[in-house]
């Protein structure tokens, strides 16, 4: 068999010797990248998310009004004059107070995306470090740390976050902290599980033998190796966060006027949906498309990074 392809074998031997045109190995990440970019739905979704982010950053350049400015002319008859139209400059129409809905949607997108991404980041950082530390140290410390997570995750946090919002005022910072602080729990559990399986690998032992400190092993060797699974959960966490913020804003407890978010816009749009459907339709479309896309990207990442799941 081998001798039949003598030329091929010789060529290979030469390549190996000279190092020219040698076969390159593919790392886990390159493999994952290839798998991800073959998934058309995920790539398309990533592209659309990019567009929405660009919209939230540069969208205000094209607005004819600011998001808090009231167009008194449109206010006189919101149903007829506040309609979406190119001529008046209200591309998405106006809201019930005569403010430009296009500018408000841009502003809402900024807040919603920011809350989604930043609070996920908070949750991921806390969760990853906590979980990695707990799994790596092990023993009694691990037991206590996981018991704390268990107790905390048995509390109805959604209600407690609302309580927090009510008692300490509606501050955007508080939303980040509250949501982020609540959702690191699952992350910590997942990362701990992964860490336990990584802990006994040879390269960790080698690091021990070289006298690397515990903390450095966690940060340099354990955390990068659980990054794959962290990334998957992060992409699924962001839509959850956006939804959560919208939920709080829908109840009227989220962002403070004149700032707005998709949830707040939807809750305003719901009131007037009988005669001014556009006030609901535009923010709703943005929210739903974003959630759809993040979910597809998340699924794509999971398929790409976690071949077992398929």
């Amino acid at each position: 068999m081998f001798f039949k392809h003598k030329e091929v074998a010789q060529e290979l031997a030469q390549q190996l010797e000279s190092g020219v045109g040698a076969i390159e190995g593919r790392s886990l990440w390159q493999d994952a990248k290839r798998r991800f970019f073959r998934n058309k739905a995920a790539v398309m979704s990533l592209f659309i998310i990019g567009l929405i982010i660009l919209f939230s950053i540069f969208g205000s350049q094209f607005a004819h009004y600011s998001y808090e400015e009231i167009d008194w002319f449109a206010l006189s008859d919101p149903v007829a004059l506040g309609r979406p139209s190119i001529e008046t400059g209200h591309y998405f129409g106006t809201d019930k107070l005569g403010r430009d809905l296009y500018a408000r949607t841009v502003q809402g997108s900024q807040i919603s995306l920011m809350v989604g991404i930043l609070s996920s980041l908070v949750a991921i950082i806390i969760g990853t470090l906590y979980g990695a530390a707990s799994g790596f140290i092990g023993g009694r410390v691990d037991m206590v740390m996981m018991r704390i997570v268990e107790i905390l995750s048995a509390l109805p946090f959604m209600f407690m976050v609302i309580m927090l919002m009510v008692m300490f005022g509606r501050q955007i910072i508080l939303i980040f902290v509250a949501i982020g602080a609540v959702s690191w729990l699952d992350m910590a559990r997942i990362v701990r599980g992964q860490t336990l399986s990584i802990k006994n690998k040879e390269y960790i032992e080698a690091a021990h033998a070289c006298g690397v400190s515990q903390w450095r092993i966690v940060v340099r060797h354990v955390v990068p190796n659980v990054m794959g699974i962290v990334l998957v959960y992060a992409s699924l966490m962001i839509p959850g966060m956006i939804m959560f913020e919208s939920f709080i804003s829908f109840l009227g407890l989220g962002v403070q006027e004149p700032e707005t978010s998709w949830g707040a816009l939807i809750s305003e749009g719901v009131v007037t949906m009988e005669f001014a459907l556009w006030q609901l339709a535009f923010p709703l479309t943005f929210l739903v498309i974003t959630l759809f896309c993040f979910n597809f990207v998340g699924d794509g990442l999971r398929d790409a990074l976690d071949p077992k799941e398929r």
């Binding site: 268990e150 107790i151 905390l152 048995a154 509390l155 109805p156 959604m158 209600f159 407690m160 609302i162 309580m163 927090l164 919002m165 009510v166 008692m167 300490f168 839509p239 939804m243 919208s246 939920f247 829908f250 109840l251 009227g252 407890l253 949830g263 939807i266 809750s267 749009g269 719901v270 949906m273 009988e274 459907l277 609901l280 709703l284 929210l287 739903v288 959630l291 759809f292 979910n295």
Partner: protein
């Protein structure tokens, strides 16, 4: 088994304690006093009121009194509706929420599992893709989007069903809230069931059953069903949370007068004792439900030792 159930409920006690301490601390730290009015009142009156509600005692003593009352089932007086206790207000609305939540859970479990199984058994065929795209839509459409859309379609456009209200639970008034709440849950369950069944169907014991020549139905119902249910059951806990959060939106949007409405109104009116009462009540239910889920799980999964 009994021993396991007993231990599982014992484990819930520290969680409950943390829950009460956290909620109490939040209420204590909240700025302002519920009885400070703009007009102000004479110091003696304020002192009397503070004494009546034990606000003059040290914090830990206040907490112990609250805990003592709580153990006797007393959630304290409402700060907003002065003649009512939180109990008077909360229990009737809990019945409403339980009706809506119960129906949605039932529908979600039945429909979700059926959808997931059908999709899994037609893995990678058009039926699978259709069902799973629908499920994805159900997941990204949150309850607060689903509710207005349903009302817009079925109440304003075709005028089949009332847009809100409760009317002692007449079925017409029940359909929209239940459906709005159930869609999200159906979608989640369908996705989990599908994934689980696909995995189970490729395992060795199913291949053995097929090799034995067992009929298809028997393989699915007798061999695949139970292991398929494991991830679904472990999702029951979060599912229940979905019902609770959904209830907040449903009650606000449809005005059904369930427990969520009291929570939001209490929050907006700064009726701290009401908000706390609801939080504690919901927390207790939530923790109890988690414990029940664990017990069911242990019952189904022979690998779990108890």
């Amino acid at each position: 088994m009994l021993n396991f159930i007993f231990r599982r409920f014992l484990q819930a006690i520290p969680t409950l304690l943390v829950l009460t301490i956290l909620t109490f601390a939040l209420m204590y730290m909240a700025p302002g006093s519920p009885f400070l009015t703009e007009k102000g009142m004479p110091d003696e009156v304020l002192a009397n009121i503070n004494a009546k509600y034990h606000l003059d005692l040290p914090v830990w003593e206040q907490y112990l009194i609250y805990l003592g009352n709580l153990l006797q089932g007393d959630l304290g007086p409402s700060f907003r509706y002065l003649d009512f206790s939180v109990n008077d207000l909360v229990w009737p609305s809990l019945a409403v929420s339980a009706t809506i939540g119960g129906w949605s859970l039932l529908i979600a479990v039945i429909l979700g599992i059926t959808m997931g199984m059908v999709a899994a058994l037609h893995h990678n065929k058009w039926l699978d893709y259709t069902l799973m795209t629908t499920a994805m839509a159900g997941i990204v459409l949150p309850t607060f989007v689903m509710a207005p859309l349903l009302v817009l379609l079925l109440s304003y456009k075709v005028k089949w069903l009332p847009a809100g209200g409760w009317h002692n639970g007449d079925w017409q008034y029940l359909v929209l809230p239940v459906f709005a709440m159930a869609t999200h849950l159906i979608a989640q369950i369908a996705r989990i069931t599908r994934g689980s069944l696909i995995e189970v169907m490729s395992s060795n014991f199913i291949r053995t059953a097929q090799a034995k020549g067992l009929p298809y139905r028997t393989i699915i119902l007798r061999h695949a069903f139970k292991p398929m249910m494991l991830p679904v059951v472990s999702y029951l806990g979060p599912l229940f949370v979905g019902v609770l959060t959904g209830s907040v939106i449903i009650d606000v949007f449809f005005g059904t007068g369930g427990i969520g409405q009291h929570f939001v109104n209490g929050a907006i009116n700064r009726d701290y004792s009401m908000v706390m009462g609801v939080t504690v009540l919901v927390g207790v239910m939530y923790i109890a439900f988690n414990a029940v889920t664990d017990i069911i799980y242990a019952y189904i999964d022979p690998k779990i030792r108890y």
